[in-house]
Amino acid sequence: MRHLVILGGGTAGTMIANKLRRRLRTDEWAITVVDRDDEHHYQPGYLFLPFHAYSRDEIVRSRHRFIADGIRLVYDEVDRVSPTDRTVHLGSGHTLGYDYLVIATGTTPRPDQTPGLLGAEWRRSIFDFYTLEGAQGLSEALDTFDHGRLVVHIAELPIKCPVAPLEFTFLAEAWLRARGLRDRVELVYVTPLDGAFTRPVASARLGGMLAERKIDLVTDFMVERVDPDRKVLVSYDEREVAFDLLVTVPVNMGADFVARSGLGDELQYVTVDKYTLVHPAYDTIFAVGDASNIPTSKAGSVAHFSTDVFVRNFLEHVEGRPMTESFDGHANCFVESGDDKALLLDFNYDTEPLPGRYPFPLVGPLSLLEESRANHLGKLAFRHLYWNVLLPGRPVPLPAHMSLIGKRAPHSEEARP
């Protein structure tokens, strides 16, 4: 009997377990999923909590309900992995031997990494919205916030769902406008990047949307510390941004056991080959989803597209055959822009987000890099697709690889560092 152990029962781990359970014979393979609790969170929903668009029940479900029969689910912490003797040491002291290991423990916001962030103002005038508690606390804070400086801030990249802070900003602007408070609030977007977003075409488009909404953009701001007494962000080059209400995206890091096991990079993301997701030193270890160090978005769409590629490769790999599929870094993200509209971005390792149509090139019905109500409805509909189709590992009629058909790249501008 061979044993596949999957660390993490989130988006990637659950999809992989369910897909592979159907493909691997039950008399030949045991599958175990390890997670610390029985709460599966639909994380894209956090964004809407502060604006009362979703309730907790729509976001949190029982984890075990989404894990198919024939898969063992173990609730425990992971202490470390010993790759040479293929053993997982659990927090309880138990061990799990494996033939193959998939690390899908995601990425976690770490406010402890920025001095002052967890000081006296944490969850009083400083909130994150990448945790349920943070988003709920922010919801209460926004209800009573009626004037002053609202600062949205990214500590360092990469972060989970890199468009979410922009979406939060657009939604906050629309929310304040709807409540007649927009003129009494100064909105500021603070980023370590040199523009609103990473790649040029999307950065220009999204930066333009910030300007249209009279949201100040502070770039190249790498936070060193937060001064809770004076309520300012301080950068490494001694610049300061004052806030009355700070919505921060803390430094994101992979799980601590990844570092303890010697499997990760400086942010504790598991080092893998970006096309096959296999660890370069151990061909029995894969990392899928946010937990890996592949250079694309940390996003559910990447987990989904890469899972399709991973499953086909894994079946070849365990038979001793070469892996024939190659992941292209494909990601797509809906970007809520307020007033019940959204944009859609579609990109991969080599091609930045460009205008075009999706999922059918030239036809759509969704338009890329343009605001539309259809995109917004697509984003809302996605929650049902997530619980009912994606997690159970049912086929989704979207191609894993990105299409270039119908996309056009505007000419890039001359620039100097």
Partner: protein, 104 residues
């Protein structure tokens, strides 16, 4: 992609002036590139530049500020003093490497 002449040598650059072939770089070129953006290189600059070059040779990616700090031993604070305002971009420019992937 175009070519340009630096120190009497023809090198390949992108539209932002970054070298596109790391093999065309040498330490003399770094001094000239640094001068172009108003930086005079000291030993401390060189420590960061050499780490970036060595790390790129192994990893195939330009190191982030965090990596230069935690692995290369040059604190982020120092990097901002050595290469003001945009240390990641300026350092890559001087070291003849691609801009670090602002991971999308």
């Amino acid at each position: 992609m175009t070519t340009t002449t630096i120190d009497g040598r023809t090198v390949h650059v992108n539209d932002e002036g970054f070298l596109t072939d790391p093999a065309e770089w040498d330490e003399g070129l770094a001094t000239t590139l640094a001068t172009r953006i108003g930086i005079e290189l000291t030993d401390e600059h060189w420590k960061a530049i050499r780490f970036l070059r060595d790390d790129y040779a192994v990893q195939g990616e330009t190191a982030t500020l965090r990596r230069i700090s935690t692995v290369g031993g040059v604190p982020v604070k120092t990097l901002f003093q050595l290469f003001p305002q945009k240390p990641a971009k300026k350092l890559a420019y001087v070291a003849g490497l691609p801009k670090p992937h602002g991971c999308v």
